[in-house]
Amino acid sequence: MTALGGLGPRDRGDVLEPPGRGRRSRRSGQGALRSTAIAFASTFVFFGFLAWVAVNSPGWPLVQQSFFNGALFADSLPDIAAAFWVNVQLFFIAEILILALALVIAVLRSIPGPVLFPLRLLSTIYVDVFRALPGVLIIYILGFGIPGLNVEGVPTDPFFYAVIALTLIYSAYVSEVYRAGIDSVHPSQSAAARSLGLSQWQALRYVVLPQAIRRVIPPLLNDFIGLQKDTVLVSYIGVVEIFRQSQITEAAHFNYTPYLATALVFLVMTIPLARFTDWLVARDRRRAAANR
């Protein structure tokens, strides 16, 4: 039976069919149903136990009161959701800037040749420094330091510095992701392009980068899940975004429920992106297997 399953694709004479199809279909059926049931049961038992411990702990009544206040939750949610719009703006503006800046840095670091050495050195220092420093410090230093110089014409809006800080922090990471992608394209691709008379830049632009970027989309999305969450860090320099808003509400009521509302907003926003990223990774893996 298994032999027939393995022969299936070849029987149709389609040599380009991805291998391993038979194997996957064999795994479904009764066995899968049973493992799903076991998974559900063990999850239920595990989290049920944790919940039981929490609810029966001596501090539970107080925690329940200060974290799970239903009325306050409903009350604070609109304000918090409105403040989240600031995070969304931060996220999208910074993301676009990061994608562009990081690509420039990755390309600068990938092009050999003595002419670009100063730029390469500068990019390397930048990436090292910004990956070494905690993000909060960069946000503080930029957000308070630069407006503090009181130079004519320099913006004072904390939102501006929030965008700049997040862009600088994340571009350092994202440029490394791009660079890994560029390095993953086999040198023979570049050689083939150069042998046709394309310049180094053209080979990069038309042959290497399109392949590199396609490969790093899942890790890029992964970094953007991080960025989505790190937008709350700019609350430290006075941007009233979702976390700052929940602090304000919390202070007004001496109750932590707004934080839970904030957490819920992030869960709703971030989990779909995480699932999407995983789906993309799985799809790429299937394609790679099919092409091998």
Partner: protein, 258 residues
């Protein structure tokens, strides 16, 4: 422009290599290569793996920097300092063992990329030229497919057409059938044979001895980075002078490849 070796007074050679040396670290892969191809000549390089065939081709295409020696194409020294390598490479096509098609582009875009970006052909002009070339090798129906939908033999033929689309003066073929399943070798070799009949100047590194004997005007046996023996195919394959050539051909024959 002609060097002292060109005193014969004939037209400039299509390719002339003088005293070419190339090392990778401590390993000297090419230990002084001298070679001359006239226009329309087909020269096959034979020799064991590691004898320097591929490196020689890569040096001619300036994909590897050379350590010593000079290379001339149609009388112009391409190894001179400050020469525009992109301009030189337009005139020299190379096809690799591993095809190296661009996997993210259709067959048509693979063929038209360089004509459009380097020769600045318009898209319609480049497409028309590419489709005509693809039609000649019977792959015009695959023009919109991506390379991974093609067999190895088809991919390699597209790679050859991609090089031809730049209308090179000289074509370098680096073991173009070595990565192919045996039943796909013939279609690629017959295309190369057509090119030879069409007058294309070619320098071919190959393990296909029968093919070399058929197609080559001249065969060079490379051994340890030197051209140990060269001559017409009949002489090299029937009556090799050098003992190493004899031994190499003996081994090839034992492996059933001749």
């Amino acid at each position: 422009m002609n060097g002292p070796g060109d005193a014969a007074g004939t037209a400039a050679a299509a390719l002339r290599i003088v005293g070419l040396r190339k090392s990778f670290g401590p390993l000297e892969v090419l230990q002084g290569i001298d070679l001359r191809l006239v226009e329309h000549e087909v020269v096959c390089l034979i020799g064991a793996s590691g004898s320097g065939k591929s490196t020689l081709l890569r040096c001619v295409n300036l994909l590897e920097p050379i350590d010593e020696g000079r290379i001339f194409v149609e009388g112009e020294e391409i190894t001179a300092p400050g020469v525009d390598v992109d301009r030189i490479r337009r005139r020299i096509g190379i096809v690799f063992q591993s095809f190296n098609l661009f996997p993210h582009m259709s067959v048509l875009d693979n063929v038209t990329l360089a004509p459009r970006r380097v020769l600045k052909l318009s898209r319609p002009a480049a497409d028309a030229q590419a489709l005509e070339l693809l039609r000649r090798i019977g792959l015009d129906e695959k023009a919109r497919e991506f390379p991974d939908r093609l067999s190895g033999g088809q991919q390699q033929r597209v790679a050859i057409v991609r090089a031809l689309a730049m209308r090179p003066d000289l074509l370098l073929l680096d073991e173009v059938t070595s990565a192919l399943d045996p039943e796909l070798v013939a279609e690629v070799l017959s295309l190369v044979r057509e090119l030879a009949l069409g007058g294309m100047t070619m320098l071919i590194a190959t393990h296909e001895m029968g093919f070399a004997r058929d197609i080559a005007n001249r065969v060079c046996f490379l051994d340890a980075g030197r051209i140990l023996e060269e001559g017409p195919p009949e002489q090299i394959f029937r009556a090799p002078r050098e003992e190493r050539t004899q031994r190499f051909l003996q081994r090839v024959m034992e492996a059933g490849r001749l």
